[in-house]
């Protein structure tokens, strides 16, 4: 069964039959290619032997930074952190005539429940990420880059530090890179356990040594970012794509996936009730069915699939009816959810969806930064009502209160966290309202919350 995830050679190969006899199109693995070679350790020598740091040689001093931006725009690369904003366009927002420092921040704060791809990219092939960082710095004219990595990833931070040391010694990082006159320095900056610091302006606040509270936008980081200077924040996976786009050309990249709007591959992180959870790099636009049943091996206990999350905890649940939805930005959005961070969580029949929504809600309640009242207070109210319903002490009017709260949180906060935190509840209320009702009916029949006339307790015979 493992054959489906065998490393595929450089050129895309035509369809070949899988062990179960079905024909499945082969695909090219780009980002995970090196690390899929058994024994690949991610050192500088191994990365160079696999063709690494060629993009820097081809680009720095040989291609104008504006041409690099144009190439990335042409490739159609979109942010892999969650929002899916076109990378080249984001870079283009930096003021052209600004004199003074600019910054690149690599967002390695991977915290979206269901997502574990950046950790693998950093721990197994750190130089691929570094090469992307250097290329991005060159394109936007930044001489300093900070990798903001979540504090828990101690090992990944150490691996990156070591890789930076190797790259500096080899002349890929530092002053006058490879004699081109380009200067780029890269530092690792560990966060300290706050989901919100993955939001780009909260990340900047945190990097400045403050509480990680998202900033009011505009102004955007492109003009007023780190220390008030023009700044680009890009996700690890986004940056890791850059060396490949520059060595093999934007046209090649734009032909992969679901052109024109969702190009390239995506590292899908599959978790939950599947036989083979893990990271699978597939062309954008693969169906959820293929990802879950072919690559991730199907359902763990062969129970039917009940629900899945297509893009991390912030993306609303989808149902078995959505299994043929293509996993690209537009198709998932059209199905009422979002591709987000690429974290696909699969849930089998028999799981209570109110419980599942509560688990996610507890996450958001814990991680709300507290800046905006609708989110700070609302998450607390939502979690209390959800706990009450799951504990079979709910009331029918709670359902209306839940919907009402969700409506009053989404869109009314400084950052997208507000929209994210209502997703689990809104999604489950939409498709599994009957499970909420059943729990509340149980509460009612257990007579736990029925109003009793005053004094009834004393006189009732038990």
């Amino acid at each position: 069964m493992k054959a489906e995830y065998e490393p595929v050679t450089k050129e895309a190969t035509p369809s070949s039959p899988t062990p179960n006899g079905r024909t499945m199109p082969q695909h090219e693995v780009i980002l995970l290619k090196n690390m899929m070679q058994p024994g690949y350790g991610g050192s500088l020598t191994e990365y160079e032997r696999a063709g690494g740091y060629q993009a820097i040689r081809m680009t720095l001093g040989k291609m104008a930074p504006s041409d690099v931006i144009a190439a990335v725009r042409k490739s159609g690369l979109r942010g892999r952190g969650g929002a899916g904003f076109p990378t080249g366009v984001k870079w283009g927002f930096l003021p052209k005539d600004y004199q003074g420092p600019r910054y690149l921040c690599c967002n390695a704060d991977e915290s979206e429940p269901g997502t574990f791809k950046d950790r693998q990219l950093m721990e197994r092939d750190p130089h691929q990420v570094l090469e992307g960082i250097i290329l991005a710095c060159y394109a936007i004219g930044a001489e300093s880059a900070y990798i903001y990595i979540r504090g828990e990833l101690v090992l990944a931070a150490a691996i990156l530090e070591r890789a930076i040391g190797e790259a500096r010694a080899a002349g890929y990082i530092g002053k006058n890179i490879l004699g081109t006159g380009v200067n780029v320095d890269v530092w690792v900056h560990r966060g300290a356990g706050a989901y919100i610091c993955g939001e780009e302006t909260a990340l900047l606040e945190s990097l400045e040594g403050k509480r990680g509270l998202p900033r009011v936008k505009p102004p955007f980081p492109a003009t007023h970012g780190l220390y008030g200077k023009p700044t680009v924040v890009n996700n690890v996976e986004t940056l890791a794509n850059l060396p490949h786009i520059l060595t093999r050309g934007p046209e090649w990249f734009a032909s992969i996936g679901s052109p024109p709007k969702s190009t390239g591959t995506r590292i899908f992180c599959v978790s939950g009730h599947v036989k083979r959870p893990g990271n699978y790099e597939l062309p954008m636009g693969v169906t959820a069915r293929e990802l879950i049943y072919e690559h991730a091996g199907g359902m763990r206990s062969d129970k039917p699939l009940k629900a899945f999350i297509p893009g991390g905890a912030s993306a609303p649940f989808l149902t078995p009816a959505h299994l043929d939805v293509k996993l690209d930005f537009e198709s998932v959005a059209a199905a009422g959810s979002m591709l987000g961070s690429g974290g696909v969580t699969v849930i089998e029949e028999g799981t209570n969806m109110v419980w599942a929504a509560l688990r996610l809600m507890e996450f958001f309640y814990h991680e709300s930064c507290g800046k905006c009242s609708p989110c700070r207070e609302g998450s607390s109210w939502l979690v209390q009502i959800m706990r009450r319903i799951v504990a079979k002490r709910g009331r029918m009017e709670d359902l209306e209160t839940l919907s009402d709260l969700c409506k009053n949180i989404a869109g009314r906060t400084v950052c997208a966290f507000g929209d994210a935190e209502v997703a689990p509840i809104q999604g489950t209320l939409k498709y599994w309202r009957d499970e909420y009702v059943a729990l509340i009916r149980e509460a009612e029949s257990a007579n736990l919350i029925m109003p009793k006339p005053i004094g009834a307790q004393q006189h009732s015979s038990r």
Binding site: G42, A192, G212, S271, G278, A356
Partner: protein, 175 residues
């Protein structure tokens, strides 16, 4: 001995990375926590002095981030992920195992000061759950036997070979 005396060179190296001093706050807090296992008030005051901040500015930052301990924790700080993805594959059982084996619940420390248990939200290890982090290390795809082994390793040698990483899942297939 103060932090600035003991870690003069390391502090200088940290400060050199940033054009604005305050950016060094989180790295310096890590240094203080490494030294004492938690962030003491004296450390906060000293760091404020190094960075030209007021102590409340340091305190407001410390209190925002969950990785900073404001009171002592056990020698081994066990953090079990309880978010949905791990819960689907059995994180509640891991909490129970730890509870039975060590006699501690969330937020508690064993009387010998060895283990503290915390329940935490997603640690970016959803495909290899259930999982826990103990100090700097991740332990993934936990089973009861594995948990027993890890605890006994930590007790006897202070570390366990069962820790994971560099992370890749599924692992590369041998051809």
């Amino acid at each position: 001995m103060t932090l600035s005396e003991k870690y003069r060179d390391e502090i200088a190296a940290i400060l050199a990375r940033y054009p604005v001093k305050r950016s060094a706050l989180i790295p310096l807090l890590y240094l203080a926590q490494r030294e004492q296992g938690y962030i003491t008030e004296e450390a906060m005051i000293e760091i404020a002095g190094i960075l030209g901040l007021t102590p409340p500015q340091v305190y407001e930052t410390v209190t925002f981030y969950t990785l900073f301990n404001r009171k002592p924790v056990g020698k081994f700080h066990i953090q079990i992920c309880k978010s949905l993805m791990c819960a689907l594959v059995g994180s509640d059982s891991v909490i129970e195992w730890i509870n039975t084996k060590l006699g501690i619940g969330p937020g508690e420390t064993t009387p010998d000061g060895l283990f503290t248990l915390s329940l935490v939200e997603c640690l970016a290890s959803c495909g290899t759950g259930p999982m826990m982090q103990i100090n700097d290390d991740y332990y993934e795809r936990l089973t009861e036997e594995k948990v027993d082994q890890i605890l006994s390793d930590l007790r006897s040698t202070g570390s366990s070979q069962l820790k994971s990483g560099p992370f890749m899942w599924p692992e590369p297939t041998k051809t």
